[in-house]
Amino acid sequence: MTHGTVLLLAIFIPAGVTFLIAALGNRPNLRDSASVLAAVATFIAVLMLLGPVMAGARPEIALFEVMPGLLLAFSIEPLGMLFAVVASGLWIVTAIYSIGYMRGAGEKKQTRFYICFAIAISGAIGIAFSANLFTLFVFYEILTISTYPLVAHKETPEARAGARTYLAILMTTSIGFLLVGVVWVWNIAGTLDFRAGGILDGKLDPSFAPFLLALFAFGIGKAALMPFHRWLPAAMVAPTPVSALLHAVAVVKAGVFTMLKVGTYIFGVGFLSKTGAAEWLMWLAAASILIASIVALTKDDLKARLAYSTVSQLSYITLGVALANQMGVIGGSMHIATHAVGKITLFMCAGAIYVAAHKTKISELDGLGRKMPITFIAFTIAALSIIGLPPMGGAWSKWYLMLASADAGQVAMIGVLMLSSLLNVAYLLPIPARAFFAAPSAMPAHSLGAAAAPDNRIEEAPLLCLVPICVTAIGCIVLFFAIGGLYEFLLHIPILPETTP
């Protein structure tokens, strides 16, 4: 098989498997195994490409021409490879987890759920591998549409309202700003291909660069840059696996990945730093980091707190782009991986708590750590990773982002990053602390009619939920020690224009 074929397989296995899932709708066991198998197959296909890409190959394939000059085409570079590995790898974990969760929580319409899930993964990998901005936009919208039924899954009025906000903000930004930005680029550059060093240098009047960048920064609503972050908390009405994969990994990471891609391959880091077009974006990202963290502090709902934490963490990556140097890009891309692994663990823990104990509020978690030790240990590990303490993976991405700030001469940004870490401590660590150390709720008889005496029997979530949590929690630690390889890999992201020999 040529690399091009494998590339297409990686994108279209998840899309193709939807037919199988639909056909097996009446046989839950077969259907769910089909979903897991597809996840594994996709991951294998992505891994088959990893080797060649690390060796310097750039597999590419063009499907067809949609409009004159606009091709639906794919090509892989290190950044996209990283995103694809993260998305497809975590899909396996989530696929297994969702079986446990969806059955444990007794959700309806599971077939529709798995179908939309698979399409969303297709969309995410399509984004990762797209060779030009047009292809990226196509898959970006596919991702938006396919996740809408997932967010609205429960079909309650709250779910509908949340899904409406979700769709409204993502569509508004993508059609209202992003598409205009894309057409603008096409108009001045005559191409939409991602090229090393960008395609705008010498074609775009530097005084317009900040406006074009704004169209992208706000247009990529999935990056949840303030003030277009509202969809992320709204989407938390979705079942937890959706929140976990899509809103900690696929959707939001598709957003920041697009930011990175646009910053590196459309504008070009050199162009951005030369013109200072991204300076405002840096400050906005910094504000977004801090404000979202503070908002997170005020949230009692566990998933809402995690959602705001995500808003804050995503802006790290936007900040990496805005710093406009190589370290920033590396730190940003690294954060895609480390934050994904950390945040998915946190979300899956939240889901496990819901399935096992039916708790969604942080204030209700007192003493729960003794019943669900594994869940909360995993939660702690992941929280430490998000905060950025060694020996967790998150430490490195923050480290490189700080290096990037220093490189760019933005000392204030180092301060922002440090302050943000403190805020992370303040909103994340109390959760396991309460669970482990606080006395169980003083109320003798809970509304559910639980016994008055605190019992410390282990009541963990189903095994299918627990295993994925452990895997990703260990992943947080592994990332810390494996970072050297990742760094080497990310150094291959071309920053400067290729010099033609």
């Binding site: 067809f64 021409e65 949609v66 409009m67 004159p68 639906l72 047009f134 936009f137 196509v138 919208e141 549409i145 039924p149 609205a152 079909e155 779910a159 509908r160 899904a163 409406r164 769709l167 409204a168 569509m171 508004t172 059609i175 209202g176 700003f177 598409l179 205009v180 057409v183 603008w184 096409w186 108009n187």
Partner: protein, 501 residues
């Protein structure tokens, strides 16, 4: 024999449906008259396809009606632009008719059906005649043939809702005023030039030079055609006419009648008056452009608040006409291209949407949106067609709507009119609102108690899906439409540039 048919193709295009119309009226039974109509429509479509192929390379076919030499005799003149429109009109008819069989049998009593098909054929005759003829007065005559039969067709909706009568009456008054304005305009051109042949008019207008008579002629024609194409604020007849007409009629006239009027406008503005006629350019930029933008917003906002699906789509049509007018008011090659593409794209998309509305009326007896709760579960195929065409109306990538938006925005950005570009996108966000309101009601709201709804019959479903599929097909493979539109725009511009310079 074959050579004779080939030589007389332009005449056959109009004569076939015209001769069939009276025969149809005396056939006496619905099935028989339907069969005849279907056969004629198939032939008509075949003729228009062969005309399109013949003109695709830029050739112009000139046909002398009754062998009288132009400019004295009536000339049928086919170039790429009107061959394209002919194909759209007859193609839409080809999709509507199979659909009409069941839909009309449901909505109109048996003894009136032959008359209905007779009026339908007359309407088709008129629309094709307007498009194919190269004689200004002949355009008026055919325009009235199509309009008069349209009034009658709309009035046949009275069997379901008596308001169809007043809708038809109001349309008649406004349409006749419009047609008479159009005639006055032609009369003024005739005063100035002494000719009615379009090509001849173009030459003589330039020889004559600018004058107040010419300007008045232009204004009368603009207003007259503006009434026919529902140019805001001359659109008042449209919502009622579309809402109360039988579903098949609504789908047909929504997809064709306004498009043909747009064609007439294009033809007069660019072939007759000339692309660089100063007075026209000023009118377009200072009057038509703002009106188009207002239409895009005002009509879309009104659409958001409609409860009746057909009425909502009718207002959406007014907004979409705004896009076409905007494209031509930009006065650039890309702008014209956008208009011509959108003419086709909107015909396909809106045709499909109105056909879905008809399916709902057939199966659920209502087209009120609040009556469609949960219909996505009872009529999955119909509703899926609605979503597909709806996404196209919004303008998501890989649908035809995206192609239109792309070229419109590109045209605006080429002129550096970025506020217009942003406004275009902002107005399509309103389309998200009104389309998604229906989608949400259809899928996520519980069905009303005790309502039995079955999927629409296959003969209605297939054409509906045919158009919905076309809207995706020409969105993913837009090379054909863009090439045709680009050549049409080039033809319009190059002919007139020679005139005034």
């Amino acid at each position: 024999m074959l050579a004779m048919i080939e030589a007389n193709l332009p005449a056959l295009q109009v004569v076939l449906p015209m001769l069939a119309a009276p025969i149809c009226a005396v056939l006496g039974r619905g099935t028989r008259s339907w069969t005849l109509t279907m056969a004629v429509v198939v032939l008509t479509f075949a003729v228009s396809v062969s005309l399109f192929i013949a003109t695709l390379d830029g050739a112009t076919i000139s046909y002398r009606m009754g062998n009288w030499a132009p400019p004295f005799g009536i000339e049928y003149r086919v170039d790429i632009l009107n061959a394209f429109v002919l194909m759209v009109v007859s193609g839409i008819a080809l999709f509507i008719l199979p659909y009409a069989r069941a839909s009309i049998a449901f909505e109109i009593s048996e003894e009136r059906q032959p008359l209905f098909y007779s009026a339908f054929l007359l309407c088709l005759t008129g629309l094709l005649g307007v498009t194919i003829t190269g004689d200004a007065f002949n355009i008026f005559v055919f325009l009235e043939i199509s309009s008069l039969s349209t009034y009658a067709l709309i009035a046949t909706g009275a069997e379901r809702n008596k308001r169809a009568l007043t809708a038809a009456y109001n349309y008649l008054i406004m349409g006749t005023v419009g047609a008479t304005f159009f005639v006055i305009g032609i009369g003024m051109l005739y005063m100035v030039t002494g000719t009615l042949n379009l090509a001849d008019l173009a030459q003589r207008i330039v020889e004559h030079g600018d004058s107040s008579t010419l300007r008045m002629g232009f204004v009368f024609i603009l207003i007259g055609v503006g009434l026919k194409l529902a140019m805001f604020p001359l659109h008042l007849w449209l919502p009622n006419a579309y809402s109360f007409a039988p579903s098949a009629v609504t789908a047909f006239i929504a997809a064709t009648a306004t498009k043909v009027a747009i064609y007439v406008l294009l033809r007069f503005m660019f072939t007759v008056f000339g692309f660089d006629y100063d007075f026209q350019a000023a009118t377009l930029r200072h009057v038509v452009l703002p009106l188009a933008i207002v239409a895009m917003f005002a009509a879309s906002i009104v659409a958001v608040f409609q409860d009746d699906l057909k009425r909502m789509l009718a207002y959406s049509s007014i907004a979409q006409v705004g896009y076409m007018l905007l494209g031509l008011a930009l006065l650039s090659h890309t702008g014209l291209m956008a208009s011509v593409i959108h003419l086709f794209n909107h015909a396909v998309t809106k045709g499909a949407l109105f056909m879905v509305a008809g399916c709902y009326i057939f199966a659920a007896g209502t087209s009120s949106i609040s009556g469609l709760r949960g219909i996505g579960r009872d009529m999955p195929w119909t509703t899926a067609a609605f979503v597909t065409a709806g996404l196209s109306l919004i303008g998501l990538p890989l649908t035809v709507g995206f192609v239109s938006k792309w070229y419109l925005v590109l045209a605006a950005l080429e002129l550096n009119w970025w506020p217009v570009a942003l406004l275009i996108m902002a107005s399509s966000l309103l389309a998200i609102v009104y389309i998604w309101r229906v989608v949400e009601t259809a899928y996520l709201q519980p069905s009303p108690e005790g309502v039995v709804r079955k999927e629409a019959p296959l003969w209605m479903l297939l054409p509906t899906w045919g158009l919905a599929a076309l809207s995706v097909f020409f969105g993913t493979y837009a090379a054909l439409t863009t090439a045709a539109a680009s050549r049409a725009a080039t033809a319009l511009i190059s002919a007139s540039n020679m005139l005034w310079q």
